[in-house]
């Protein structure tokens, strides 16, 4: 997902000045870069890393919501949740394909995920103990993802931009569905309202962290801005998300877990916006570095699925080989 993916990217290049200038000129003309076009190695690496991390986030992101499919309270909700989690798998699939155009295989990316070399969005390292988390994730996590991803629809790399157009449509459906789920709880029995408020309390701050560190603390996004991989800064996107989401919470009678949250008429060039309290970046870094409540469980679940499925994948390959061999033999016999 997401800007978090750009933490620590090495964007140094060794290409000639002319080459880099010509590449930059294409970007400045808003031309789309395609997979087979010449591109600086650092541009390629940054994209492989970002698209790979985005794909991994979709796949790992299936787990926290997948946790409730078998316990969804109604058939309508069960179908909607199952379809939503399936959509996320579909996003993972297009994104892996987009990354593959840059010369890395899905297998390789999967290995990087399982060994911890590649990251995924930290938000998925939080647990989903309650049904209301299905609302909170759709509303806040998909909501924050949209803020990050809408500008990516104009990303300079064509395959990523095109994948994003398709994905954004589904993400905004997920966001509305999550908000609707939350609003039903908020209007429901006291236990339901409490469940909804508790989920909001747990997911609000982590969803703000999805935009990555404050601009004043993040060192690597200038080059990505110039290459139009990233178009808005972390703080700009976070502010948009806050301004869109706070009134939605008010509308359904839920309270943001931030005593410092207040309207500031001077924000957004005098149009007004919300000031928020200090984000606890120590928590963010703890989760990024593997110390979140579910980091180990998520990777363990992905590893188990991968290892348990190995014999199936091997069998599929073996069968395809046998078929090919039989076809070839039949052809030979016919000639």
């Amino acid at each position: 997902m997401y800007s978090q993916g750009l933490i620590g990217t090495n964007t140094e290049t060794e290409e000639s000045e002319e080459f880099l200038a010509a590449f930059q000129a294409r970007i400045d003309r808003e031309e789309k870069i395609e997979a087979n076009d010449p591109m600086p190695e650092a541009y390629r690496k940054t994209l492989i890393r970002q698209i790979g991390q985005h794909a991994h986030s979709e796949i790992v992101g299936m787990l926290p919501e997948g946790n409730w499919i078998t316990r969804a309270p109604t058939l309508r909700r069960k179908l909607a949740l199952l379809a939503k989690v399936q959509d996320e798998g579909g996003h993972g699939l297009y994104l892996y394909s987009a990354a593959e155009t840059l010369g890395i295989s899905r297998e390789q990316m999967t290995e990087e995920l399982l060994t911890g070399k590649a990251k995924y969005s930290s938000i998925f390292n939080y647990p989903t103990p309650s049904w209301a988390d299905m609302g909170a994730i759709g509303w806040l996590v998909d909501g924050a993802a949209i803020m990050n991803q809408v500008p990516l629809c104009r990303c300079s790399f064509g395959p990523y931009a095109r994948a994003m157009v398709r994905i954004c449509k589904e993400e905004s459906f997920h966001q509305r569905q999550g908000y609707e789920l939350m609003s039903v709880l908020a209007k429901g029995a006291p236990e339901q309202k409490q469940m909804a408020q508790d989920a909001l309390n747990r997911w609000w701050w982590p969803s703000l962290m999805m935009f990555g560190p404050y601009d004043s603390d993040s060192s690597h996004s200038d080059q990505n801005m110039e290459w139009k991989i990233k178009r808005f800064s972390n703080d700009e996107l976070r502010q948009k998300f806050v301004d869109a989401t706070v009134p939605q919470a008010e509308l359904i009678g839920l309270t943001m877990p931030d005593p410092d949250l207040k309207w500031n008429p001077d924000r957004n060039k005098g149009q007004g916006g919300y000031d928020i309290g200090e984000i606890d970046w120590s928590e963010f870094w703890r989760v990024v570095k593997g110390g979140g409540p579910m980091n180990r469980d998520r990777i363990a679940a992905r590893t188990k699925a991968w290892e348990d499925g190995a014999w199936v994948r091997e069998a599929a390959l073996a069968h395809a080989d046998k078929r090919r061999a039989r076809r070839a033999a039949a052809q030979e016999a016919a000639e």
Binding site: I59, G66, A83, V85, G89, G90, L93, Q192, W311, E314
Partner: protein, 252 residues
């Protein structure tokens, strides 16, 4: 028994088959052997659950006791669920899951085909939609049974074990309840016994390509149609019903 009440009861039984199999398939979501299967298995689960909703909703209206789809899906006791035992069998490995799907789909495909000429318009409508969906299940699960049966040594062994484990549950697909009998006589639902040839044909075809043999089953397992379930079923229900039982009477 009035025909409407008999039909309601028979449709609930059919709905139970679909709900429980859909639930089982959905347990794979996020844990499949490959990403493509993380899309295909939910697809099949969505088909199953969608059909369950249609069946329950229609049955609820017919029986006229004020039960909606969720009351039927979530608020009965184990003995009141009449699904066949096959669909409640645990997922096991991927070979078991695909074979269970093939067995069920190979039965439901001719069932829905025959139901397109039901004397009941609603059932005709369900059947027309379902017959297309279930054809995909036969194809998808059948291809996997072939790939695994004719894949590696390990996959062939696992596929063979799945056949031994599950084949004994297939006979129950062809059994009927009293209310089904009433519906069969009124030409509302097809007679399962008449679908056996088509089922045999599908399975024989797939097994031939998969190098699998159909085992002799001296003691077929049944009981689900009578509400007598396996031990795993109670655990399935405790998960399925958790929210409805913990927070009764709420809107979600």
């Amino acid at each position: 028994m009035k025909p409407a009440a008999a039909l309601a009861d028979a449709l609930i039984t059919l709905g139970d088959d679909h709900l429980i199999l859909g639930h089982r398939l959905s347990q794979w979501c996020g844990h499949a052997p490959m990403l493509e299967e993380d899309l295909s298995m939910p697809n099949m689960a969505l088909d199953m659950l969608g059909q369950a909703r249609n069946l329950y909703t229609y049955a609820g209206g017919l029986e006229n006791k004020g039960r909606n789809e969720d009351d039927l899906a979530y608020l009965r006791t184990d003995r009141e669920y009449k699904n066949c035992l096959l669909v409640e069998r645990p997922n096991g490995d991927f070979a078991h899951t695909m074979l269970r799907q093939l067995y069920f789909a190979a039965f439901m495909h001719p069932f829905w085909q025959a139901a397109t000429t039901s004397a009941d318009d609603k059932i005709q409508g369900f059947a027309e939609k379902a017959v297309k969906e279930i054809a995909y299940h036969i194809r998808h699960a059948g291809e996997w049974v072939i790939r695994l049966g004719d894949g590696t040594e390990e996959s062939a062994q696992r596929m063979g074990e799945a056949v031994i484990a599950l084949h004994g549950y297939t006979d129950e697909l062809f059994s009927t309840t009293d209310t089904m009998q009433i519906c069969i006589e009124a030409n509302l639902l097809p007679d399962p016994e008449r679908l056996r040839d088509q089922w045999d044909q599908t399975i024989e075809q797939v097994f031939a390509e998969a190098f699998l043999t159909i085992p002799e089953i001296p003691f077929p397992q049944e009981g689900g149609r009578d509400g007598r379930h396996t031990e795993d079923f109670g655990h399935l229900l405790s998960e399925l019903q958790y929210m409805q039982r913990t927070y009764p009477g709420m809107t979600w």
